[in-house]
Symmetry: C2
Subunit: 205 residues, 2 copies
């Protein structure tokens, strides 16, 4: 059974020292997750590798699922903006918002699946966290997608399309990390799902 | 942590008596799941309500997640074919395969979300089962979608579109059962995702 603790965000990581500590925790989780897989990562090892007390780690992340779900969010937040020709100029809306999001999420999927044990740890955790009642929706992924599409003032329809792309991508990645789909096919599916689900942006624009 | 046992299908439920016993188990799981929610359902209560020994229940389903994932599969298998005007005649391909699948999955989503505790138990379980390595892909949902679309000899592309619809639907339903989306919005999203993801069937046909 997925047993998770009370949802709690590391919201107090606001001083430079706290932010550095949080970054060290997530970095340790990523390295140990890729090496050992979700089930064999011990919270005490994460604390030791990050150089924090175990109690501190649990204050930030009440369970391994909270920890690895946060690692995924921070991985997505850290992905570079797409650089290749999809934007007319820096800061402007891309000429083709669908292609921009497709390239970004395709690259993100490929990067995640290149570390399969870590990807599985993060996706299992996200599924558990998202299944828990009262977990607040994570705004990082939708905000990145809207930003890459050059949409500053999203309509209800825009938010809905982004939500469906996000659901579909997590589904495809979960499927891939469970060994149902090879990484290349999963990346191709993510790209194709973006083309199909975001088609209204092309028809409107 | 999701801890699940060795994947094992109730493949030996082949005699009428075994099939009846399996049906009684899944029915008990559904009733208790809706009443108590995943965490508070006890395998021993399921066995008692189904009139089987606890050891028998565990031979069929090594964990609650296997049990509730199977309950979802059998619920989907039991959904009636869409009847309203989308088919030209019984057994023929529907005039609009996208509308036929959209109506079927929209109805399925609405039915599932009408029993929120059970829906959550089944979706959390499906996510856990699907995240486990070496769980075979469940063919029931893809086969139903292809059948409703009137596709007898699916191409690689058809299978891919169906896979993406399935991923997206489970994602939307997971989101809804976690309280991030109300049931009406989730049903509308499922219908819209079908329209967008299956658009190639309209363009081709």
């Amino acid at each position: 059974m997925p047993r998770i603790g009370t949802p709690r965000e590391p919201g107090y990581a606001s001083t430079p020292r706290q932010l550095a500590r949080n970054a060290a925790i997530l970095d340790a989780a990523r390295r140990l997750g890729e090496r050992h897989g979700l089930e064999r990562v011990q919270m005490s090892d994460v604390a030791a590798h990050a150089g924090v007390a175990l109690g501190t780690l649990y204050r930030y992340y009440p369970s391994k699922h909270h920890l690895f779900a946060a690692a995924l969010t921070s991985s997505i937040a850290a992905l570079p903006e797409p650089t290749a020709g999809s934007a007319d100029s820096v800061g402007a809306a891309p000429a083709d918002p669908v292609a921009a999001v497709r390239d970004f999420l395709g690259t993100a999927a490929g990067n995640l699946l290149a570390e399969p044990q870590l990807a599985r740890a993060m996706l299992v955790s996200v599924n558990v966290i998202r299944s828990a009642a009262d977990t607040p929706a994570d705004p990082v992924m939708p905000q990145r997608i809207l930003s890459i599409a050059g949409i500053d003032a999203p309509s209800e329809e825009d938010r809905r399309l982004v939500r469906m792309v996000e659901q579909c991508m997590y589904g495809i990645l979960t499927w891939a990390t469970a060994g149902q789909l090879d990484a290349a096919a999963a990346v191709a599916d993510v790209r194709y799902a973006c083309e199909l689900l975001l088609a209204p942006w092309r028809i409107q624009g």
